[in-house]
């Protein structure tokens, strides 16, 4: 049986290569590099299943944070039939992430290709690209790409939506709520297996990068995609490296590459103390773990995950706890304000961390209270925002345990309490 993937990939074809070669991202350059979009011929009823099988065989996981196998999401909405809406999530509310902005600036048509393929497979009549209302450049790039595709029959019509910026406004149920005319806050979903809907139409929310990979897999096939990974992981992935590095930026790397190799691309400023992996709701890892492959399975062993593709480097000269307190304070301010444990718990945790950094007259009580509050907040919001803060702080207390002891005993830092890398 002929699968949907038949083309030979241009040498080194990945998400960003067309841009590096031509420095053009218009539709003509895109089609010149990658060839036509492999949409099905009329009445090819087996095509959606073949596309789903190809994505499954490729081992593609969601690039938005949950590392959810993409094909499961595709099939979940597929069972509900016509009238579906495909939502491209390019909200990128994570402050340490820059990959969606870069991707939509240099390869917007790959993202729109992926959306068109998924929408066609579902019979969806509508594609909506969500760009935060403060990302004007990204919105302009997307609008231009959408304009170039009008009248080209490259999938269903595409709209651009501008939901309010914010850490949690890109959470998928928050996006669905906003697109349905609601407040744009996460919903209480007792059963996450129930697909999302927008005004009673099934909605499929995919991260922009995930869809760009679909655009490539549909052309070049699962074996090609698998060949790009390393250490058992498949494909490439976009990683934003920032913090104490000379050249912060977005790199496309083989999923499964050692973390230290990825960090090296941005040239760390001297010795590294620790790395925050996944994002502000991610996990700190020690320098001893820097040889770990950057891939979901290997990171799970460290209690971490690829998250939204973020490596935030903390140099040896900076106080990890000060950085942790800063991030916790930021995250407390980004609560959607709906759930008590998040509304009251996150500021309380942030205050405890501030006290830990400054030094406390009651170090024993402080430590006990902080641990109790982490326990109290974990898993008690409608969305995973508070859980991310708990994960980040718990991992920090383990990785920076010497610093914690020092702050508790001396009320100050060994490293002069300099502010963090950002």
């Amino acid at each position: 049986m002929k699968g949907p993937a038949t083309m030979a990939p241009p040498h080194g074809a990945t998400l960003l290569t067309a841009w590096h070669r031509h420095h053009r991202c218009d539709l003509a350059a895109h089609l010149e590099t990658h060839g036509p979009l492999p949409l099905p011929v009329p009445r090819d009823y087996g095509w959606p299943a073949r596309l789903a099988r190809e994505i499954e065989a490729a081992g593609l996981t969601g690039r938005g944070g949950a590392a959810f196998p993409s094909v499961r999401k595709l099939v979940a909405a597929g069972t509900t039939g016509r009238g579906a809406v495909v939502v491209v999530n390019a909200m990128e509310g994570e402050p340490a992430s820059d990959k969606d902005r870069v991707l939509l600036a240099v390869a917007p048509h790959l993202v729109l290709d992926g959306a068109a393929l998924v929408a066609t497979a579902l019979g969806a009549g509508r594609v909506v690209v969500c760009v935060a209302d403060d990302r004007h450049d990204t919105a302009a790039h997307v609008a231009q790409a959408i304009g170039e595709r009008v009248g080209t029959h490259l999938g269903p019509p595409v709209e651009l939506a501008r939901p309010p910026a914010g850490y949690v406004s890109g959470e998928e149920s928050a996006l669905a709520s906003w697109l349905a005319g609601g407040v744009g806050a996460p919903a209480f979903r007792p059963d996450r297996a129930v697909p999302l809907s927008i005004s009673r139409r099934p909605a499929l929310v995919h991260n922009a990068e995930t869809l760009a990979h679909v655009g490539l897999i549909a052309r070049y096939g699962a074996p090609w995609f698998r060949s790009l990974g390393s250490n058992g992981a498949t494909g490439t992935t976009l990683v934003t490296v920032s913090g104490d590095v000379e050249h912060p930026g977005v790199h496309e790397v083989a999923l499964g590459a050692p973390i230290e190799e990825i960090v090296a691309r941005s040239t760390p400023n001297g010795a590294i103390r620790a790395v925050l992996v996944g994002g502000y709701g991610g996990s700190w890892i020690d320098t001893a773990a820097l040889a770990t492959p950057y891939a979901p399975a290997a990171l799970r062993g460290l209690g971490a995950g690829v998250g939204a593709g973020i490596l935030l480097v903390l140099g040896a000269g900076h106080c990890g706890l000060a950085e942790v307190a800063r991030i916790a304070r930021y995250m407390a301010g980004e609560s959607a304000g709906q759930c008590g444990p998040c509304v009251f718990g996150l500021p309380a945790i942030a205050a405890d961390l501030d006290e830990l950094v400054r030094g406390s007259p009651h170090p024993g009580a402080l430590e006990q209270r902080l641990h109790a509050r982490l326990e109290a907040v974990d898993g008690r919001g409608a969305c995973r925002h508070p859980d991310g803060v708990v994960r980040m702080v718990r991992s920090a207390l383990a990785v920076f345990r010497d610093e914690v002891r020092h702050h508790l005993a001396r009320g100050r830092c060994r490293c002069g309490d300099k502010a963090g890398p950002r």
Partner: protein
């Protein structure tokens, strides 16, 4: 002896406004955190408390306490 579908308590954290009636009516299963919001855990509600749990759910002013089928 009737067989019951195993049930567990759940809280809709968006609806909940920390009235605390659930903890007063059902202290066996509901504790309050330091901010007054209920902590219910995931364990199965014992058969002898199911009727009381349903009553507590009915009494919640925000309809935020749910008696749902337990995850098996």
């Amino acid at each position: 002896m009737t067989t019951r579908v195993p049930v567990a308590l759940r809280v809709d954290p968006i609806a909940c406004d920390a009235f605390g009636y659930c903890a007063e009516l059902l202290p066996e299963l509901v504790a309050l955190d330091e901010w007054g919001y209920p902590v219910v855990g995931a364990r199965r509600v014992p058969d002898e408390l199911v009727a009381l749990a349903r009553e507590a759910a009915r009494q919640c002013p925000r309809r935020a306490l749910l008696v749902a089928e337990a995850d098996s």
